[in-house]
Amino acid sequence: MAFLRRLSEDLATNLPTWLPIFAAATVTVLRMVALAMVIALSVGLLLALGRSSARRSVAWLCVVYLEGMRGIPAFAFLYFVYLGLPSIGIFLSAFQAAVVALGLNAAAYMAEIYRAGIDSVHVGQRDAALAIGMTSGQAMRHVVMPQALRVIFPPATNMLVEVIKGTALASAIGAPEIMNRAIEQTSITFTPMAVYVTAGATYLALILPCARLGRWLERRAVRERAVAPG
């Protein structure tokens, strides 16, 4: 109880100072997530399509990327990008490194999500599109993808949650995000519990709505599949 009283006192004293700091850090996190998701969604699509490419070498490279990336921690890859790439002349800021590392890492998972979505569309749809004279690319764009999207959305939302959680790792390389600011404040106020609980609450405020949305989309997709003919 004494502890809870102390925690609430620490929070009451420091929250006015922390709120603007955490708000700014949240904006940084949102920018980081948005850019990383752009990379994940586009590179992921390329990987999903490249994997079933007719060119053996392209398909093989994509599989190596997917399997490899899914076997290593995003954190180790982040360090590789931030500490490793400078030795071949690529210098990224902490923010840029986090965007690139989180984006390229999530792309490997996104590719699987795209693939599951594309596989869920009956082959007859593609065959019919080809039969009326569409090219393979047109069939994918106008016929298969629009139908695959409803299967892709729910797990993609989960991926978004994972990317938001992943941004916390960028504190280690000094990107000015939530955990980084929290660590900084700890060394000013010496109230680790209060700071980290505030940081945790900020993450929950960001992530819980996304997780809810994902579950809702999932339930809706299951319902639609149950009533859809075929």
Partner: protein, 215 residues
Amino acid sequence: VTSLLDNPVAWLVGYLLPGALNTVKVTVLAFLCGIALGLLFELARRSRVRPLGGAVAIVVEVLRAMPPVTLLFIAYFGVAELGLKLSPLAAGVLCLGLIEAAYATEIYRAGINAVHHGQREAALTIGMTSLEAMRHVVLPQALRHVIPPLTNQCVGLVKTSAAVSLIALPDLTFEAQVVTGLTYQGLKVFGLAMLMYLALSLPVSWLARRLERSR
């Protein structure tokens, strides 16, 4: 010392292999905690004691939404404020175990639901208590559905475990950072570390895939 550190074999023997050993240690311990705790969570959620089920649901939701780093900092730096100083290993196993339990709960739930309810009813009819029916009839059959996804979770745990380097547990990521600090060869050092992570995680994910197919 400088010439010795130019040699990747020295990195391996002196730093990366002991680091990988710590990664394995924290992962295995957390996995064991997680599958035990996850089962307890699921049984609590199914129990007739309503508030217990609700409390577990909230804990699971929070654990799944919180970045592991934040949880680790609360357990390691925050709890120390209470006068309870956990070692990095204890804090790491505790946090990763709790996170694993939150995911395992869902897996147990699906596994138990996959067992036909007639099985439980038959067990109750012959005079078993609810708990006995769960232990001797439902769980043994649910195990078949539970093992492949739990194995997959273990791969996830290997990857999540890299975050413990931030509370100064000398795991593979931590040691790779140390060697990078000494040699300024981040590309090679982290390249090697990533290969070592692959050597840990790929066999487990192949195993998971085989288990899934043979089901």
